[in-house]
Symmetry: C2
Subunit: 468 residues, 2 copies
């Protein structure tokens, strides 16, 4: 007997119940994207390694899944060239020799590649969404998979802050549809640049950003320690500290920051970039006010986000009633396509974390009940005459959009009922000789117990009973 | 300047227009599957090579994309063990050493693996559909890709012919929704087995099937020549010949075949398996009659289909008005999960060829017009006051399900109109100071030229204008 089969570690099978929840999430998000004029694209799962390498840092390069070239891939290689000592070989160089392709690591780099490659076919501003799996050879652990879906929405080729507003509106709408309360946090990367300037360490903006990005996880003191480790002095930390715990309204926070950027900090340095960032935040919050966003939106000057390609607004979304970290994030980038030779294309985007959103909806019991059952009615199979009587009736119901099953085998009703029960099918029909003689169909609501016979031609009455 | 980027040969990018067509196809098929009680599953893109190897023949093994193990994958290997001569190495053995995983080659083997692995969680009969990409390292050519979607629907754990009927009903319904006329051809593998028995070469059933499978491509004479090459004698070919060109009604064809299987062929041999196959065909066509299938369905005794795991009904679907070969195919198998240690699980399934269906719908101009444009209305951007006036109005329309865009930059209207034109947006709104003063919204139907102003609060009137 063969061994029970398994799947590679870090990957998952999704059965019908999980798929129903996942499709509900994707369908909802997709329907909102569509009302904002975003259109789908898909890129190949494999990209040339030359497209992927060097885009995610050294660590990222190591996490790429590489695909062995087809055919006689190991002949013609002089392995001695790659030999180090003993039975150690230079795996990095050898893998480049035998692998030309790798699996997509995220949707951002393929999107940038797509825009550059198809720039002459695209109408800019280009509003696209993309929902596809990505692969990372990370060490699998709870909540971290080697294959997972990303769900990205981006507009490229427009600097207007209306785009930032619309992303906030999309987040607001999606989570209202999910009936989940979220907090949308917004900052601007230019303000972080300004902060590095006014504290006197303009070349440390990346170190400062990376440190601040950890504030939720490690706390203010550890962030300050990390900044000092990276070479900031006490005076610089003194300038940054109050910013990270700023309170008050959006207008108040912006006002305090404007003072600081205008040379009123201890250093007396003025930052034009910082002032520009504050102006953008002010304009965006003005639009947010006009739009009547229903979820909570706040300015968070400690929000950093690790990715270095952001140059303007940055976003992060958290569920208010379920502790799971960030469930959406994104921001504006000014030079994403520059790596492929198309400079000066500003864009802004946001990514929805489908796995975490699934956990939130499940944890808060927010999946609608329709999501939980796929079939509305099970017609019991009473034999071949009954079957031929039912087939056209069931066809009519299906074409009216009702999901129906006829149990495929006639035989013990108990077994048929158990099937309905295991699949959470809410209605059952036992239509036999009496019903055929009367030209009727029997239907029973399994949760209320209500049972009725309907004329087989009165589809409308049947629909009302099933839906009402 | 970087070189213009590209994608691996045999792979494709799908832009918004192609995605709209593809999503229409998948959504339609999925909606029909759902009304028949089929539920989605998804399996990982990567499977262990031990799951995939040996399931598709030697040729298939060569076409698997293999994934290089992560980490220091080449150290610890004694390459001399794999050396053949000169700089030739045993690539097959070496690739097994450095690759444990491969990309999914089809959806059938992963489905069988899924059923065996999750047999204790599944309610049988298990009705599942699966729409995911598969990968094959085939030589790319017109219409043949290295990454393409399969769209499979199967029920496993039931021998009832009602399942075969429902697959025919699904095909009928899907292509009626697409407004495409198809011919559904049905045969039964047991009849082919019977044929090999009555012609006296029961051990040649695979050779006979493979030869007959080519009849559409190479013609009757070449099929006969191939059968002789495989060792059949003239007398055997004489027995098979009339069957391959049988005409008449379904009942007439079955009657002729029953005579032959009952020992009335030149050989005088009786085939119980052949008779059983005819009985199944007769029962299935009885159900098809009861179901009122609207597309053309015919019995085709020359229909073979190459795959050897079929054991009962086999199906093939062709578009009647567009020459492109088979667009759906499938059949019943009795032992698919046996390879993974779960014997005696009979199932039946069918696969929709999404790429070919796309070509058919495009070739026959059958994509609905809604599929061609994603955005219904473009609101021109006349400046920041107009923008703030429009934002809540547009929000209301979006929440009513209308896809709207506000052009993100204010500026030349000509550029904004060009954007609407390139995206085939059917309505435009130029709402400026006069409209704001009057509390109205302007809308223009770009195809009819009709233009009207609506009270900004009368969403219903606006919807009627946009949809009516």
């Amino acid at each position: 007997m063969a061994q029970k089969p398994s799947i590679p570690k870090g990957t998952r099978d999704f059965g019908p119940a999980e798929m129903a929840g996942r499709n509900y999430i994707f369908d909802t998000i997709r329907s909102v994207f569509k009302t904002y004029g975003y259109a789908p694209i898909e890129t190949p799962s494999m990209e040339n390694l030359s497209t992927l390498l060097g885009k995610y840092g050294d660590e990222g390069d190591k996490l790429l899944f590489r695909i062995l070239n087809s055919g006689d891939s190991f002949s013609g290689i002089d392995f001695s060239e790659y030999h180090i000592e003993g039975d150690n070989y230079n795996s990095k160089a050898l893998s480049l020799k035998v692998c030309e392709k790798g699996l997509r690591y995220d949707l951002t780099v393929p999107f940038a590649r797509f825009v550059v490659q198809h720039q002459n076919e695209i109408s800019f501003p280009f509003k696209r969404y993309q929902i596809q799996p990505v692969w990372r050879a990370d060490r699998p652990q709870k909540g971290r998979y080697r294959e997972f879906y990303q769900c990205d929405v981006d507009v490229i080729g427009s600097r207007s802050l209306l785009n930032e507003l619309e992303l906030v509106q999309i987040v607001d709408r999606v989570f209202r549809l999910f009936d989940v309360n979220v907090l949308i946090k917004i900052n601007n990367r230019k303000v972080l640049t300004g902060l590095s300037e006014i504290c006197g360490f303009p070349d440390k903006v990346v170190d400062i950003t990376v440190a601040i990005d950890k504030i939720d996880k490690i706390g203010l003191e550890a962030v300050e320690a990390e900044m000092k480790e990276k070479g900031l002095d006490d005076a610089a930390v003194e300038v940054i500290r109050p910013v990270l715990s700023l309170s008050g309204t959006t207008a108040e926070k912006i006002e305090v920051m404007r003072e600081l950027m205008n040379g009123r900090s201890a250093s007396g340095i003025v930052s034009d970039t910082g002032l520009k960032g504050l102006e953008e935040l002010e304009e965006l919050f003005g639009l947010i006010g006009a739009a009547g966003i229903e979820q909570e939106v706040e300015i968070d000057l400690s929000l950093a986000r690790g990715l270095n390609y952001y140059t303007g607004a940055i976003f992060e979304v958290k569920a208010k009633d379920f502790p799971i970290g960030s469930i959406c994030g994104g921001g504006r980038y000014d030079n994403l396509t520059g790596i492929f030779g198309l400079p000066n294309m500003s864009g802004v985007g946001i990514s929805f974390g489908a796995d975490r959103i699934y956990d939130v909806l499940k944890g808060l019991d927010k999946f609608p009940s329709e999501v939980k059952s796929t079939t509305k009615v099970l017609f019991a199979n009473m034999g071949s005459d009954e079957l031929k009587y039912l087939i056209p009736i069931v066809k009519g119901l299906r074409e009216a959009g009702v999901s129906c099953e006829i149990y495929p085998e006639s035989g013990k009703l108990k077994k048929q009922f158990e099937y309905a029960d295991r699949k959470s099918i809410p209605f059952i029909s036992i239509t036999g000789g009496d019903e055929i003689a009367a030209g009727t169909v029997n239907l029973k609501n399994l949760s209320s117990g209500e049972q009725k016979n309907f004329s087989k031609d009165d589809i409308q009455a049947i629909l009302d009973f099933l839906i009402g």
